[in-house]
Structure formats: structure tokens, C-alpha cells
């Protein structure tokens, strides 16, 4: 297994939008390095000319009529919101 450092944990955690403590960073980056070292075995395989698989049984051109279906009321759709007022989700101010 490769001992090489693969992952920039600060950068990747930021992309993933997860704050990590220093202890978490240390633990995760060594675990992820060993997992990434393991998955690199795929490099052994020659895949030139092989089509990628996104879905095992691909279904193409799935269309349906664009009709309004009143599946959820505003009240139902918002009932799990952490903060709400006047049928809207309350969020902290981000621009002045």
C-alpha cells in the first residue's frame, strides 16, 4: 500500500462543506490516504476503448408531461425547516 500523501484534507473538506477539528483532519487524512492508495489498483487495468457505465440498465429519453401536481402544500413543504416565517425559510443575512 502506498505511503504517499494523496489528499489535501483542508481543501477537500472545504469543497465538501464540512468543518473538521484538527484531530479529525489528522485521523481522516491518514485513513483516506490508505483508502486512496488501495483504490489506485484500478490503474493496473487497461481501459482504453471501454465505455463508462453510469447506470446498469440505462433508460433513455424519459419524458413526461409538464403538468403542475399539487403534491405538497407550502405548509407541508416547510414543516421541517429549522426556522421559518411567513411561508418562507429564515436564513442568516449574507449581504449588507
Amino acid at each position: 500500500m502506498s505511503e504517499e500523501k494523496h489528499i489535501d484534507i483542508d481543501y477537500t473538506a472545504k469543497l465538501a462543506r464540512i468543518n473538521l477539528t484538527d484531530a479529525e483532519k489528522e485521523k481522516l487524512s491518514s485513513q483516506l490516504d490508505s483508502i486512496i492508495g488501495y483504490v489506485e489498483k484500478l490503474e493496473e487495468l487497461d481501459t482504453s476503448g471501454v465505455e463508462p457505465t453510469a447506470h446498469p440498465h440505462p433508460v433513455y429519453n424519459v419524458w413526461q408531461e409538464d403538468v403542475v401536481a399539487s403534491e405538497l402544500s407550502i405548509e407541508e413543504a416547510l414543516k421541517n425547516a429549522p426556522a421559518q416565517r411567513d411561508n418562507m425559510i429564515v436564513v442568516p443575512k449574507v449581504v449588507d
Binding site: K14, I18, L28, L32, Y38, L42, V50, E51, P52
Partner: protein, 490 residues
């Protein structure tokens, strides 16, 4: 009576209900009593709503009294993995992120069960967001294996398998992304079926890896699995990947194919380490049984087996990082109280830091890494190409054989805590189950014996959309053995 009742199969219970020798309310009361009697030991449930279940049972009895019983599942209590939406019930995914979430709608499989009159019973524990193989990654509790309370029940559908094995529900639903139905079923000595990708609508299943996830039954015998699969199968326009294909009557097809001389394949790569695989002995005996029936058993090769775990952990984590981006702390999840208001994204980062457990963070960050700029081709695209090679391995094997026989898991249930500090060794314990998800084929686990007093599962992998053949093959073994009537002593 009630000792007998809680281990009766759904098909037997259905018959009793039909003859009016049992009422749905009596059955639900017995199920509640059993659940309470053993839940301290098993800890399979995140929550249950007694009053709601009894109300559903009363409605079932009223229908039957009026001569309007809906189907074979009318009045049968079905436990639900806590990642499937049931209108008005909690849906936690065993995560702090969704600790307070209440579903505003029904998953398609739940809607179908309601149409059949099934009584939707409690919410079953899982590894957080279905990420794990032991149910130890739940944010709320660790479920125990009913056969040995010091052992894990398997995962991620550990609550579903444990509750079924402990008689806390007649049958349950689970979900399987890399073995999450089959592996816990094997560890708990019950039947677990992962249908072909596209057979069952994923609408209302909290998504983990969308190109791999399937919902399926966990039951105490093969007939019940066929019944429950029948109830939840079918095309659904709310899941664009659900397949437009007619489903056979699984039960009738299973009966019709009794005595058929199957051609069965043993993937040689799965048996290479047979000597060091503790769960192998009962599996080899099961293979002998099929030979004794006159089935042809032959060796086949799945040459890319060795690359399956690596392929899976790239694709599954990539899809997870994308799917779990919806848990943002803004709209319907846990929101951090304290965050840096000067940084416009810190509310997301802090809410996710507080809401997600360690394994989820590990996988979301890994998935983010393999999709990130500069790495996408080397990891994600490469894995999708290897996925094609793995799929082709199975297509080739199925030109020669009707189904494949393998162990479900390399070991019986392990002790709690044994693997939780080493994620890679936990991932490698999925080695026999993940390929079926990558290839999109159906697979099931069937109890076939014991190793050190713990159940061992035989895995049967079938051709796409031919679950009826896979179930028929399982049915032959089950009918000739007594495992379905053996239960843990709790």
C-alpha cells in the same frame, strides 16, 4: 399462542387472517408485545408508533369484515428501514442531521404497501445514511445480533434483519447499495433480496448512491420474500431509472419451476480463499445439495472481481457526496446555532460538521476528492469504465449458467467494535456482495447453516429481471432444510 405467533411467516399469518382465526389487531398487539419483550436486548428500532399501527390494524379488520380485504399482505405488520419515507412518521436515516425530520409524503414502495393493506410498523435502525456493514455507524444506538448479542447484526439494514430474526415484525423492508440487505440477512439467519436495479422505484428512499441503491424485502422465508417483492415492484414515473418491464407473479413462477434442473455457476475468484473463509463450510454443503438434485454445477470466472471493492468505493462515495449535498442546514435539516456569520458558507460547514457522523464525513470527503478537478478522470471515470468490465464479466457468466452461488459474507457476524477502527477492513467485508450492485443484477441471501453458532448465508446471484428464477433456486434449498424454522433464543 403468541410465542408461536411472532415466528409465524407472513404467508401463514395471511392464511389465519383470511380464515378469520386471527384478527389484524390481535396480530399487531402480539407484535408490539414481542417487540417490547426483546427490544432491550436487540435494539432494532429507532422508534415505533403503537397507536398508529393499531389504527391501521383496525382498518384492516374492518375491510375484512366487510369482505373487502385487499391482498395477501392485508393486516401483516411490515417493519420499515428508517431511510424510507412514510407520511407523518420520522425519517432519521439514523443521523443527527435528520433527528427531527418528519416525512411529508410516502415513498412509492410504501404507497404500494398501503394499497395492499399492509400495516406499516416501526422505524428500523441502520448505519447512518446506510453507510456501513455493522449498524455501528448509527447516531442513536447499536443493534445487536439476536443470535449472539455481543455481535453486530450486519449492515446497513441491521435493524431490518435483526427485527425479522427476533420476531419483532412479520417482515421488513431494507435497502441495498453494496450488500446492505444481503449481508445483515446472512448474519441474522433470514432471507434478504436485492432486486434488479430498476425493478423497485427508489422514490422516497433517502438516496445514498443512486446508481446502486435498491429497496428490497427481508423475511423469514423465501415465499414471504416473493410476496413482499411482488407488492413493491413496478415501474414508477417518479423514478426515471425504474424500468418499464412487466413483473411475473413471483410466487406462481416459483412453484411452476419446482424440480427444474438448473445450471449453477461457482465464480472461481470467490472460492479462491475457501480454506481461510470461516463461512464456507455450510456454503459448500449447499452446493452439494444442488448437485444431488441433478443440477449441473460448474466453475465460471469473473476476472475483474479483485477490482470490485475499489470500483465500488469510488462510485458509491462520489454519488454520496453529491446526494448528501442536499443536507445543508438551511431547508429541512439540523442547523448549527453557532457559526461564523462573516463567512457566507460557514453555516453549511458547521451544520454538516455537527449533523454528520464520522463514517459519513469520511465518505463524503472521499467522494468529493474523487470528483474534484484534476482527479475526476483518474478515479471516477476510471471506476465507471471498470464497472463496465465487471458488468461484462457477469453477462459472460450468464451465457453459461442460470445463476451463481457464492457465500454472502466471508465471515459470520463479527464482535461489536472489532472492525470499527479500520474502515478499509470493514469495506473489504463486502467483497462478495458489491459486484451485484455494480452490475445491477438481482441477488439474495438464504440461511444455509451455522459457523460457531452464528448463521451463514448462501448468496444466489441471478440474471437481470429474473428474480423468479433466483427465488425458485432458493426455494428448492429451503424446502429440503429446516433453517427457516430455527430461531434465536432471546
Amino acid at each position: 399462542m403468541s410465542e408461536e405467533l411472532h415466528y409465524k411467516s407472513a404467508s401463514e399469518l395471511s392464511e389465519l387472517l383470511g380464515k378469520k382465526e386471527l384478527s389484524a389487531v390481535e396480530l399487531m398487539k402480539a407484535t408490539i408485545a414481542r417487540t417490547k419483550a426483546v427490544e432491550d436486548k436487540v435494539a432494532a428500532f429507532n422508534s415505533y408508533d403503537e397507536a398508529d399501527a393499531l389504527k391501521q390494524a383496525e382498518a384492516s379488520d374492518a375491510r375484512r369484515a366487510a369482505g373487502e380485504a385487499l391482498g395477501p399482505l392485508d393486516g401483516i405488520p411490515v417493519g420499515i428501514k428508517d431511510n424510507l419515507a412514510v407520511n407523518g412518521q420520522p425519517l432519521t436515516c439514523s443521523s443527527k442531521m435528520l433527528e427531527k425530520f418528519v416525512s411529508p409524503y410516502d415513498a412509492t414502495c410504501i404507497e404500494k404497501l398501503k394499497t395492499e393493506g399492509a400495516v406499516l410498523w416501526g422505524r428500523l435502525n441502520l448505519d447512518e445514511f446506510a453507510m456501513g456493514s455493522s449498524t455501528e455507524n448509527s447516531a442513536f444506538k447499536t443493534t445487536s445480533n439476536p443470535w449472539n448479542l455481543e455481535c453486530i447484526p450486519g449492515g446497513s439494514s441491521g435493524g431490518s434483519a435483526a427485527a425479522t430474526a427476533a420476531g419483532q415484525a412479520a417482515m421488513t423492508l431494507g435497502s441495498d447499495t453494496g450488500g446492505s440487505i444481503r449481508q445483515p440477512a446472512s448474519h441474522c439467519g433470514v432471507v434478504g433480496v436485492k432486486p434488479t436495479y430498476g425493478r423497485v422505484s427508489r422514490y422516497g428512499l433517502a438516496a445514498f448512491a443512486s446508481s446502486l441503491d435498491q429497496i428490497g424485502p427481508v423475511t423469514r422465508n423465501v415465499k414471504d420474500a416473493a410476496l413482499l417483492l411482488q407488492a413493491i415492484s413496478g415501474h414508477d414515473e417518479r423514478d426515471s431509472t425504474s424500468y418499464r418491464i412487466s413483473e411475473p407473479n413471483f410466487l406462481a413462477s416459483m412453484e411452476k419451476q419446482r424440480g427444474r434442473k438448473w445450471t449453477l455457476g461457482l465464480p472461481k475468484e470467490y472460492f479462491a480463499n475457501a480454506a481461510s473463509t470461516p463461512a464456507m463450510e455450510p456454503v459448500l454443503k449447499a452446493i452439494e445439495f444442488y448437485r444431488s438434485l441433478g443440477c449441473e454445477v460448474k466453475e465460471v470466472s469473473l476476472p475483474h472481481t479483485d477490482y470490485a471493492v475499489a470500483t465500488y468505493y469510488i462510485i458509491a462515495t462520489a454519488e454520496a457526496s453529491s446526494n448528501l449535498a442536499r443536507y445543508d442546514g438551511i431547508r429541512y435539516t439540523h442547523r448549527a446555532e453557532k457559526f461564523d456569520t462573516k463567512d457566507s458558507v460557514d453555516i453549511y460547514c458547521q451544520s454538516r460538521a455537527e449533523g454528520f457522523g464520522e463514517e459519513v464525513k469520511r465518505r463524503v470527503i472521499l467522494g468529493t476528492y474523487v470528483l474534484s478537478s484534476g482527479y475526476y478522470d483518474a478515479y471516477y471515470l476510471k471506476a465507471q469504465k471498470v464497472r463496465t468490465l465487471i458488468r461484462q464479466d457477469f453477462e459472460k457468466a450468464f451465457e453459461e449458467v442460470d445463476a451463481l452461488l457464492t457465500p454472502t459474507s466471508p465471515t459470520p457476524a463479527f464482535k461489536k467494535g472489532e472492525k470499527s477502527s479500520d474502515p478499509l477492513s470493514m469495506y473489504l467485508s463486502d467483497i462478495y456482495t458489491i459486484s451485484a450492485n455494480l452490475a445491477g443484477i438481482p441477488g439474495m441471501s438464504l440461511p444455509c447453516g451455522y459457523s460457531d453458532g452464528l448463521p451463514v448465508g448462501l448468496q444466489i446471484l441471478g440474471k437481470p429481471f429474473q428474480e423468479d428464477e433466483m427465488l425458485s433456486i432458493a426455494n428448492e434449498f429451503e424446502a429440503a432444510h429446516g433453517f427457516k424454522d430455527q430461531h434465536p433464543s432471546l
